[in-house]
Symmetry: C2
Subunit: 139 residues, 2 copies
């Protein structure tokens, strides 16, 4: 057994926009959150960050394609279930379908889907609003 984990409730510290965007680049996976037939919906996806935009790929017929041109929310986190330390970042922005063939080809090279299947669409979310928090130990 390792040393006992200190898992007291943590202080919540708000992150700046710059800190939040930096943390997003450190993970490869998040969740697209949108409204589908008036119901809150969520889809996990793997992403890359290009400049500050979230890029992900999806397939024909995916529910998330109904969000193109709409505001969606993207969330990623890395919170340790034992120590309760970590962070969460949430951003809001318009879902934009990338159609320029060269840009699509570049993203297809950079962004390999984790799930088998033909990923026909590349979606970009440019972050209009960014919030984040960190769970930190007391000083």
């Amino acid at each position: 057994m390792g040393p006992p984990v200190d898992s007291e409730p943590r202080q919540l510290r708000q992150l700046t926009k710059a800190e939040s965007l930096q943390l997003l680049t450190e993970v490869s996976f998040g969740r697209v959150i949108f409204t589908q037939n008036t119901m809150p919906a969520v889809r996990p996806v793997n992403h890359i960050i290009d400049d500050v935009a979230v890029i992900f790929r999806t397939h024909l017929g995916a529910a998330v394609l109904t969000t193109i041109g709409m505001i969606v929310t993207y969330q990623a986190d890395a919170i340790d279930p034992d120590s309760h330390l970590g962070w969460s970042v949430i951003l809001h922005g318009y879902a934009h379908a990338i159609t320029d063939p060269d840009t699509v080809a570049r993203y297809e090279q950079l962004l390999r889907p984790w799930v088998r299947g033909e990923m026909t669409h590349v979606i970009r979310i440019y972050p209009e609003i960014v919030t984040g928090f960190e769970l930190v130990k007391d000083e």
Copy 2:
């Protein structure tokens, strides 16, 4: 360096409702997804599962309190960013505020917040619709 990680795209296997609910009990943390002023919103919370319901605590003034009596979505996952193996579970159900003092007291004992601060409310989401998938290796 360890052995190379096999991170090919994975097969997506649909989980049954029973499998999905079982997996939810194996994690202590998920995300409440709801609509806030017409915008898709998400809040990470730590949870317990009681029977099949998701129980979490929150504080006065939390955005998530606006969802009481409404359908919300809850999502949890455990996906390895290196192997791309894991699972995601999504459920939909009404957000119900627990008010019975004995039940509140019991949940306050069982469910310790990860974040400092007075958690005045106990919310239950009974899963009306449950879906899940698993990312698995090919046979």
